[in-house]
């Protein structure tokens, strides 16, 4: 099977299946959790629930990332905080503001937007890759992390790492012909999309719901967090 044929499969039917499987799986898990229902609230709220939700999101995205040192989560684990932060920023820059990725979004949702120059995206992807490696080493040597890390954590790490490293190799033409590199990148992306609903990588959907629920709890109790 030629690289071209593998590439066509990875960009064609495999991508199609992976995307639908991911959407199906995420919908299943999300509605499954939401439908569990929660206990009746008999207490009179001390503040606005929706205000709490808005505040918690604003703080999470616009305040804490810029003054992280005021938080315990940063002071106790600066490496994880910085590494994790840079990794997520890198993901955002590469997946949303990288030209080839924007064209994928455009073909899927019919909407395009301006992108960053290749060197900027390239450096950010390198930052993401380095952050992932450092976080893996930390996970392997940190006494507490070592105890709570099982195969699932390492499999998830690998499935996220592969699209990043293959994408980087593809941009720099390392390790084969362009279509072979492209095929590897697409296969790793397809595998990741299938793995997302089966693992905790689905947090990128759950995060917003759990944050909203916490926010309304804070709002209800009148706590400014």
């Amino acid at each position: 099977m030629s690289s071209q044929a593998v590439l066509e499969f990875a960009r064609g039917p495999f991508f199609y299946f992976a995307l639908l499987f991911m959407l199906f799986g995420l919908a299943y898990r999300l509605f499954n959790v939401i439908s569990l229902g929660w206990n009746k609230d008999r207490v009179v709220p001390m503040g606005s629930k929706s205000k709490g939700v808005v505040i918690t999101f604003l703080k999470a995205f616009l305040i804490w990332p810029f003054i992280p040192w005021v938080k315990d989560t940063f002071n106790r684990n600066p490496l994880i905080y910085i590494g994790g932060g840079l990794f997520h920023l890198s993901l955002f820059v590469v997946i949303i503001l990288g030209t080839p990725h924007m064209l994928v979004w455009k073909s899927l949702i019919g909407l395009g937007w301006p992108t960053l120059p290749l060197p900027v995206v390239d450096w950010m992807s390198a930052v993401g890759i380095i952050a992932m490696v450092i976080l893996l080493i930390n996970r392997r040597i940190h006494p507490v992390l070592k105890l709570i890390s099982g195969p699932a954590e390492f499999v998830a790490w690998l499935f996220v790492f592969l699209p990043m490293i293959t994408g980087y190799m593809m941009t720099h033409h390392i390790g084969g012909s362009y279509e072979a590199l492209y095929a590897r990148h697409m296969i790793s992306v397809d595998v990741l999309m299938i793995w997302i609903p089966l693992s905790r990588i689905s947090h990128f959907v759950f995060y917003f719901f759990s944050r909203a629920i916490h926010g309304q709890e804070f709002g209800k109790r009148g706590v400014a967090v």
Binding site: R11, A27, F31, I34, S107, Y178
Partner: protein, 371 residues
Amino acid sequence: MPEETIQQSLASQGVSRRDFLKLSGVLAAAMGLQLPPLEKSGLPAALGVPEQISPTEQTILNALETKQRLPVIWLEFQDCTGCTEAVTRSVSPSLTNLVLNTLTIEYHETLAAAAGFQVEQAKQDAMKKYAGQYILVVEGSIPTDLDGSYCVIGGRSAVEQLKEAAAGAAAIIAVGNCAAYGGLPKAKPNPTGAKGVWEIITDKAVVNISGCPAIPEATTGVIAHFAIFGTLPKLDKLNRPLTFYGKTVHDRCLRRPFYEAGKFALSFDDEGAREGHCLYKLGCKGPTTYSACATIKWDQGLSFPVQSGHPCLGCTEPNFWDGGGFYEGQSAPLDRPTITAVGAAVGVGAALGIGTALVNQSKKKAHKGES
């Protein structure tokens, strides 16, 4: 007169010794053979090496002087004659002349003066006379459905004609994407069951000069290579000569610096397009398209599609008609789910999720009731 050597034939047409030497140089360049660098001659670069013949040129010279003329049989099936048109308007007039006139094209439907039974007879005679010696050039794909009845010439199907001609060929060259990989006729849903030559002729090496049309210098260069060395040039995995298909269009593109700098044309008439920025966002397939298009170019090196402002369509690659929209980003997926498919996936997922949650709840209640 196949007994005549190539050099003798050229001489009888009035080609001087000097022009003959020049032709050898052109041939060496066309075949991608390496000429020794100037400094090796021991002369200052500024002086050049007048009248000095490199070893490579000498090899070609010797071959042309001793080898007999090479008969070529050129078959056309499901094609548009574009590759023939390209060859007859090739960049190097001397090279085209060599291939078209000197190498004796014994049979070519477009170029033949005769027609009908006469030309069919001429082909049969040529195949008999030069059995095991001729080069078979195929242009156009071969339909295989309905016993090949989609393309019938002189009452016989293309498959039959190809197999017959291939049996006595010394070398087979598939010119153009159609002959190489099926091309346009093979595009989904491939109503005629079109195939490339190498899918049908499996017992002999088939050189694929893909492209739409094939770059004429690649076609004539390969024919010349066989005429001179008696062997086929080095091929890649898709049987394309590496000399012409070793690098991608993207690798050699004059707009490449704009790609690196992230400067793109977003439409065919915006500022970026006028400034000559990269056409990647307009669907250029250059990064995965192997071809010498960007270096040899067309019309005597005047230009090539990307230079003229049009994204590369990827015409040297198999299945390029089905390789995504021509004006859609190359990274775009080939198969996209419709809104209905997405809705169904999300809907079924949500229904299953809610369903299992409700079942679990009722189980929990029942369990509580028991206790």
